[in-house]
Amino acid sequence: MALSQGIMAASVAVAAPVVLLSASSAYSARPHGALSSATLPALKTRKVFTVKASAAEQPASFGPSSQKLWTPKLVTNAVATKQETAATTGAKGGHELLLFEALREGLEEEMERDPTVVVMGEDVGHYGGSYKVTKGFAEKFGDLRALDTPIAENSFTGMAVGAAMTGLRPVIEGMNMGFLLLAYNQISNNCGMLHYTSGGQFTIPCVIRGPGGVGRQLGAEHSQRLESYFQSVPGLQMVACSTPYNAKGLMKAAIRSQNPVILFEHVLLYNLKETIPDEDYICCLEEAEMVRPGKDITILTYSRMRHYVLQAAKTLVSKGYDPEIIDIRSLKPFDMYTIGNSVKKTHKVLIVEECMRTGGIGASLRAAIMENFFDYLDAPIGCLSSQDVPTPYSGPLEELTVVQPHQIISAVEKMLSD
């Protein structure tokens, strides 16, 4: 929990009802990369895509007889055509909480709603979760629904798969995402592939979640970004949350999804504060989030880098640039519609991510954009990623491995000056 103290989250009463976070310290005062205020003067209202869950559920498709009856029942307007402005959310009241509380709220609501949802992981029960996401769950739901597992990631992930195949909906917590490297066998072979190799007979509606990313001098092994490792596994969906609003929404959507979903949280974002709606909502798992519309350049980002981008945007806007910022949220699959529309508008793309340069999400995204929207590009796609270096412990070195706001500013300026 000491990790998330780096973020000073204080709510600010502003006209824009949905406030991400604001911290009084500017970047330069805290060289280790605190995030500063995200309330951008150029924004009048925050436009947030709120997509309600598609009511269509896939028919339970197990058993040889139903295997051939694969009839998708889908909502055809896949992308929300109307934007709910933040004003709507604000008008209904809402309540303010921190990101880890939003995760907890989402998880708790789903566990109340569906008695087959079970949380498994190390210290999720009596300890309340090492990041307090499951605080109070053992008392409320009992030791079996908030299952404290022994330290055996591969086996308890496999156990969750077996439970999912036989009717439960497990939420597997990796205390740190990096620990899930030990569970790679089960995540790849069973979570991802078992539905396919069983010919569609078994579903694995599990959620794998946990904090990852570079924290505050946690050392190489606790600072890993597993999204790049898992992205090739067929059959998995991956989403990354970045605000309390989308954290709760994505958590709920992931739990309700029949697919196995990996929800990437970030160690340094747990104390972000935001006002979120009181009513039930979920976020679409496949959609990206338009954070700031603009026309000069498309900046694609996710998770913690979203906040660095917003911080950089403050400076960019004051210098007269107009960046369009999209939080891609869905790391696999990519929302090519939102991204594509943006590329068609701005013709320049910069990807800002925390993944390693080699084989990261940015690498895949670059390829996907080039493949689909080459004709709309006026310049090569820029990509700012972390260095291919094991994250060093020492502060200055750690800072150098991760993208910093000043680098984002320079990159945008360079791309827009050509």
Partner: protein
């Protein structure tokens, strides 16, 4: 009240000449006081107890006289009828299952060499006593996980031979639509949770299925939930972390699971004795807090007795059991294995202990069925296997549109395309010609 139970002599069932690899007769040094609930026949039983006695005690702690080794051996005088461990119907069911397993695997070998199936095919010849001995006791709702040597487990669990053979041929009528293959047999209807290619991978899955039973009883308050899970795996797996991790969790939460080790002494070309510091796998059960049972896996009735106890134990909520079946595979590790490392003398020794011929002998000697009836079963199975091959031959291969169908349960997972629609709404998508 604690009763001491020594290792017993083998109660003669099938082959009194059957020399077990390890003699189970007489009192060995490792005897401990145990609470006797079970009556394992012909096997060593070690149940976790208080750390105390390694002594054959004549008196329990409470002072009552308890059975000693000698008493146990002379325990019950019984009539001839009681000697039999199976009824006629049970015997015929088990016999048919074993013959089906053997014939099917032999047919697989033929088909493989004729180019009807490809890849890695691992045959079960010689180990039929384990599959039939354990799985025929299970209910349809019970769960089984297996390894890559899973054809016979699938057949014993009730998956029709046609579906298994079609799967092996890669046809869309196979139990997994041709997408799984030899090493990934699944059946939701029959509770077969796989078929896994990596060893050890299926053990946590079985543990999870057992967890679901416990969850249904205790959280969802479903008193009818009593499905037992059985995990089959080999000697090589018993050096793998997942094995130990699952023994721990199963015992910790008293999950209704039975761990069945098919110790055939060889992991491809690695002898069990060269790979394992303590080769007695059954000993690892008590280390984690569950009974470790050691049984002759070439003797279907012994396996059945042991399994019956273990399954009942699990079903009534007393927790897991580890059963080590000493068995042997007559063929190589897979059809690609030249099988040059194993001593021909060893192979001959076990060929003489063929579980099917031994059981046939038992049936005939005890008058459970006539020779003619058994031959009729053999013939029937031949027809079943022939029919399976015919069915598989005539079945269609999967079409292109099948490629993407089962990647996701919810195909929205393929994402949103540049046109704003979900990719799976694109008609070319199911045709398999769309770009993803």
């Amino acid at each position: 009240m604690a009763t001491s139970l020594a290792t017993r002599t083998v109660v003669p069932t099938l082959s009194s000449s059957g020399a077990n690899r390890k003699t189970t007769s007489g009192v060995k040094g490792t005897v401990s006081k145990i609470a006797l609930k079970s009556s394992f026949v012909g096997c060593k039983v070690t149940v976790p107890t208080a750390p105390a006695a390694c002594v054959v005690a004549r008196h329990s702690v409470s002072g009552k006289v308890t059975a000693s080794t000698a008493d146990v051996i002379e325990a019950k005088p019984k009539s001839k009828a009681d000697d039999l461990l199976v009824t006629r119907d049970e015997a015929l069911d088990v016999y048919e299952d074993m013959v089906l397993g053997r014939s099917f695997e032999d047919m697989c070998a033929q088909m493989y060499y004729r180019g009807k199936m490809f890849g890695f095919v691992h045959l079960y010849n010689g180990q039929e006593a384990v599959s039939s001995g354990v799985i025929r006791l299970l209910k349809k709702e019970d769960f089984v996980t297996s390894t890559y040597r899973d054809h016979v487990h699938a057949l014993s669990k009730g998956v029709p031979a046609r579906l298994v053979m079609a799967e092996l041929f890669g046809k869309s009528t196979g139990c997994c639509r041709g997408q799984g293959g030899s090493m990934h047999m699944f059946s939701k209807e029959h509770g077969l949770l796989g078929g896994f290619a990596f060893i050890g991978e299926g053990i946590p899955v079985a543990t999870g299925a057992a967890f679901t039973t416990k969850y249904k009883r205790e959280v969802l308050k479903d008193d009818n939930a009593d499905a037992v899970s059985v995990a089959f795996f080999g000697d090589g797996t018993c050096n793998n972390g997942q094995f130990f991790e699952c023994l721990n969790m199963a015992a910790l939460w008293k999950l209704p699971i039975v761990f069945v080790v098919e110790n055939n002494l060889w992991a491809i070309g690695m002898s069990h004795l060269r790979a394992t510091s303590v080769p007695e796998i059954w000993k690892k059960g008590p280390a984690f807090g569950m009974p470790g049972v050691h049984v002759d896996g070439m003797d279907v009735l012994k396996v059945r007795e042991v399994a019956k106890e273990a399954i009942e134990r699990a079903r009534r909520g007393d927790g897991p059991t580890l059963i080590e079946c000493e068995t042997y595979r007559f063929r190589g590790h897979s059809l690609a294995d030249p099988d040059e490392l194993r001593n021909p003398a060893e192979k001959a020794h076990y060929a003489a202990r063929d579980p099917i011929s031994a059981f046939k002998k038992y049936i005939l000697e005890n008058g459970l069925a006539t020779e003619a009836e058994l031959k009729a079963i053999d013939k029937k199975i031949d027809e079943v296997v022939e029919d399976a091959v015919e069915f598989a031959d005539e079945s269609p291969l999967p079409v292109r549109s099948q490629l993407l169908e089962n990647v996701f349960v919810d195909p929205k997972g393929f994402g949103i395309g540049p046109d704003g629609k979900y990719r799976c709404e694109d008609p070319d998508f199911t045709a398999g010609t769309a770009q993803v």
